[in-house]
């Protein structure tokens, strides 16, 4: 009992510090006193002794708290409360508490360190009510500090979710609209139908000869035909290229000039430009027979762009031949 007394005193001191920190000083001490009375079989002198002690200690500056811990840690390690609090480095929590209480954003301390401290503190403050309150304060401070960063994370997350397509369709009932499952499902169906018809309009613009067709089945037919024709063209052209080139190396100069040519193709698409262009390019092709790339390449390309809206599933071999002949005739005419 006698042995236990100083330990309890120490413990009470600590409790009082913490109660000071938490700012609920009177209620805490009264609680502690009641507790002491029950536990220590009513040694009133001791409890009274404690009270002035607390009063003495109240004006003590914060760093002293950390200083106070150090002697009591090694001397009375039997007390579990002390050992627990002394397990964490004493100076850091003090600073921590100050920062937490003042609510000042401490930029100098790294976030990781603070987090570790917080972990330790939370370990230390499992059972003590007063320390718990301190922890709450700390958390408040920390939340103030870490507030922006967490919100940033949230923003990033929301960005990611925005980018990703939602798997479900979100339909909100407006005022006066029914919210039972059937009408919701109906609304979802209408939404899907609207979306599909919107996309179909784009497809209509894209697929030549699809403008005049009404009805979904006919449009789908047209789209299927177009895709099939394009696929067949790719097949055919690859066959043609394979037949033309015995080895699989296309001339790289050829390719790069062609790449440069691409913007000019759009200009050539205009038929008037086209006629103006033609003789010049013909000359070029005649003068530079070795580098026959530029003129003949662009001419059929332009013609393709011209007539792409009329010719859809035409076999391209005959078509190309006819076009080329026409072009050469024009060139000669000029």
């Amino acid at each position: 009992m006698n042995r236990a007394l100083p330990e309890m005193l120490q413990w009470q001191q600590q409790q009082s510090y913490f109660s000071e920190l938490s700012g609920v000083f009177p209620s805490q001490t009264s609680h502690l006193l009641a507790f002491d009375g029950g536990f220590m079989s009513g040694d009133s002198v001791v409890t009274r002794e404690v009270k002035p002690h607390i009063g003495l200690e109240t004006p003590s500056p914060w760093p002293e708290l950390g200083f106070e811990f150090e002697p009591c840690g090694p001397s009375y390690t039997v007390n579990y409360a002390i050992s627990r609090t002394s397990s964490c480095p004493p100076a850091v929590p003090a600073a921590e508490l100050v920062s937490g209480k003042m609510g000042s954003a401490v930029g100098s301390e790294s976030f990781k360190k603070r987090k570790a401290d917080k972990l330790q503190n939370s370990k230390a403050a499992v059972e003590d009510d007063s320390t718990k309150k301190i922890k709450v304060y700390e958390e408040e401070g920390e939340s103030k500090i870490t507030g922006p960063s967490t919100s940033k994370h949230k923003k990033e997350n929301s960005k990611v979710s925005d980018v990703r397509k939602p798997d479900y369709i979100h339909v909100r009932a407006r005022r006066g609209q029914a919210t039972d499952s059937h009408s919701l499902a109906e609304r979802v169906r209408i939404y899907i139908r609207e979306k599909i018809s919107e996309r179909m309009k784009y497809l209509q613009d894209l697929v030549p000869g699809c403008n005049k067709i009404t009805g979904k089945a006919g449009m789908l037919d047209e789209i299927i035909n177009y895709v099939q024709s394009l696929q067949r063209q790719v097949e055919f052209l690859s066959m043609k290229l394979a037949a033309v080139n015995p080895r699989l190396d296309f001339n790289i100069d050829n390719i790069f000039t062609k790449v440069e040519e691409f913007p000019s193709v759009q200009a050539v698409a205009n038929p008037i430009h086209y006629l103006h262009f033609n003789p010049v390019q013909e000359l070029v092709s005649e003068t530079a027979l070795r580098r026959t790339i530029s003129a003949p390449v662009t001419i059929p390309d332009g013609s393709f762009l011209d007539s792409s809206c009329f010719t859809q599933i035409q076999p391209s071999a005959t078509w190309d031949g006819v076009e080329l002949q026409n072009l050469y005739n024009i060139g000669r005419f000029h």
């Binding site: 899907i192 996309r199 290229l241 062609k258 059929p300 390309d301 190309d320």
Partner: protein, 190 residues
């Protein structure tokens, strides 16, 4: 979507790089082999141009690399980018499971429909025409799904979007190939 010319340039670059890799690997090929290599390289190049954004391109690459004979070709064409289609390979098991699930759902639907048909028989003519139209649309949708790579696992909205993208990229592919073929044929004739 980017303007066509930049897409075309990118496609041409990738295609030529792939073709060069192919031609380095084996010099003597028959015309069919060459044709296959050209087509595959063009497809894969187009898909890799649109790789990250669309479903059809991923499906195309994964299906091309799935075939045993084409596998090495695809690896040659894609070259350093082979890592990018690894996730697509990993998805294969998932898609297989999805297809199994779909089959089960279809079967159950068929059974349910069988039960319902007796009641529908007496329905008015108007409803009948609408059901016929629906049937036609469904059939067409199925065909379209079979045409577009990876289309079996798309819903309708997604399918139409992918079709839009696929058509535009096919057009670019055809444009480039046509111009190249024309240039090559003219050179050959001269």
């Amino acid at each position: 979507m980017r303007p066509h010319s930049s897409l075309k340039q990118e496609f041409v670059k990738k295609w030529m790089a792939g073709l060069q890799r192919c031609s380095f690997s084996n010099k003597n090929m028959s015309i069919l082999e060459r044709k296959k290599a050209i087509k595959l390289s063009a497809d894969v190049a187009m898909a890799s141009v649109r790789n990250s954004t669309t479903c059809w391109s991923r499906a195309l690459i994964s299906s091309a690399s799935k075939d045993g004979s084409d596998n090495h070709l695809v690896e040659q064409i894609l070259g350093p980018e082979t890592e990018s289609n690894r996730p697509a390979m990993a998805n294969k098991a998932q898609t297989r499971r999805a297809s199994v699930c779909k089959k089960i759902v279809k079967r159950s639907r068929r059974i349910r429909r069988r039960g319902r048909r007796k009641c529908v028989a007496a329905a008015p003519a108007k409803a009948l025409t609408s059901t016929i139209a629906k049937h036609l649309v469904r059939k067409r949708t199925q065909v379209l799904k079979s045409l577009i790579p990876g289309g079996e696992f798309m819903n309708e909205i997604c399918l139409i979007e992918e079709t839009l993208d696929y058509i535009t990229s096919l057009r670019i592919q055809v444009d480039v190939m046509r111009s190249l073929a024309a240039g090559a044929s003219v050179r050959a004739s001269e």
